[in-house]
């Protein structure tokens, strides 16, 4: 019979909380860089300037189709050979997940922008708005509302994917768990607690996301007319 003993884990829970903090930092920074970069990639891809749209389409597809672990190893181990940079696990993590998530966010932005009726662009154009003004004042405010569920979904995916940073020795929740499991010889309890932490975190996020979605659906904004 397996004996459960959480005491060893709970007495070192501050180690795990430190890891949780680092996980949240990586996720937050990847979002902070990834969302604007995603908007930029989406606008480039929608651009009529051909090199711009082809270039960004390539970047988006490349980062959507390669495994995030390969990307992370590439930035951490390969990039310093190519150019003279000192890569830390933290920087490699931020760079990888910013670009990786921006590729997904770009597609969310693009879908949102394309879902707006072309009459909205025309209405804006007819009162003398430039492309930038139409986008900022008319199209994006409506598109972003529709994109919120997809954004939440992607952010949750991102939070889960950040566990990969433990492989380059960044002290996220997963890394701390590995550490603690080896130290205490209690992998059963350690990984159970870690799973519960991730569950609580992501479950809360997704409940919020569902609530937001419901509220948006109720406000019933009809965007076409």
């Amino acid at each position: 019979m397996v004996e459960w003993n959480f005491l060893a884990v709970l007495s070192d829970i501050d180690l795990l909380l430190l890891g949780l903090g680092n996980t949240l930092v990586v996720t937050a920074l990847a979002l902070a860089f990834g969302i604007p970069l995603g908007l930029f990639l989406a606008l480039s891809r929608l651009s009529t300037i051909r090199p711009l749209s082809v270039g960004s389409a390539f970047i988006i597809e490349f980062f959507r189709t390669t495994p995030p672990l390969v990307q992370l190893f590439w930035f951490f181990f390969a990039l310093p050979i190519l150019i003279d940079v000192r890569m830390t696990p933290f920087i490699a993590a931020i760079v990888t997940f910013s670009i990786q998530s921006s590729a997904f966010f770009a597609e969310v932005f693009r879908g949102g922008i394309l879902s707006i009726d072309k009459g909205q662009w025309e209405g804006a154009k007819a009162i003398g708005m430039t492309y930038g003004q139409s986008l900022r004042r008319i199209v994006l405010p409506q598109a972003v509302k529709r994109m919120i569920p997809a954004f939440m979904e992607r952010s949750i995916e991102l939070l889960k994917t950040t566990t990969l940073v433990s492989t380059v020795a960044y002290a996220d929740l997963m890394f701390q768990a590995n550490d603690l499991a080896q130290k205490t010889f209690r992998p059963l309890e350690v990984y159970t607690v870690v799973a519960v932490i991730y569950f609580l975190l992501i479950f809360t996020f997704s409940q919020i996301s569902i609530a937001v979605e419901h509220r948006l659906a109720r406000s019933g904004e009809s965007t076409v007319r």
């Binding site: 009459g119 209405g123 007819a126 009162i127 003398g128 708005m129 430039t130 405010p141 904004e221 007319r225």
Partner: protein, 257 residues
Amino acid sequence: MTEIVRIENLHKSFGPLEVLKGIDLTVDSGETVVLLGSSGSGKSTLLRCVNFMETPSEGQVSLHGELVGSENNGGMQYRERELCKLRTRIGMVFQHFNLFPHMTVLGNVMEGQVTVLGRSKPEAEDKARQQLERVGLADKAEEYPARLSGGQKQRVAIARALAMDPDVMLFDEVTSALDPELVGEVLKTMRQLAEEGMTMLVVTHELGFAYHVANRVLFLHEGTILEQGEPQKVLKDPETTRMREFLEGHSLFKLPD
């Protein structure tokens, strides 16, 4: 009469399809000109070339005697900034209203004034309320467009265009998407504008409006102006067979006198 819009030798092609085949037209200040024609005749395209929602393939457009764009070895060249500025002086109302659903009625009418013309918010709000009063919707200022009827939406769209103080207003089949009982209120608003001296270029299927309000009626067919003149003449005693057929098509089911 001062000339507001002048169109010379206007051509427009979409790929291999030539929709406009050389249109000449001037609209004078205070005039209401109605464009008639069956679908595909090019009347909407002509209207959309006036404010460069479509770029003409050939020919020239002038507003107040100023040529739009610059000549460049035989063709015309247009800069986006110049066109944006031009569009602030030309109001346009669409078949499907194209109101901004995320803004209130007041917000819709203020938007262009604030974002494009750079008016202050209080000034834009005053102006917006005046224009809503003018189209009879002062009491709807705080509503969102989704809560309005089609006729009310279209009158808001008219107010939005008027708030920019345009030199000329373009109406592109503005009653075609409305329930029949809502058409009247929009036409009434347009008639009132015409009587106040607004210069208007109107694409419509409402022959009654053309007959009673227009100073001049143009009949387009396959990209050329086939017939034009005073509505009483053109609509009652057309010269071409094509125009006669068009009018008969519209009055097939008239009530007996």
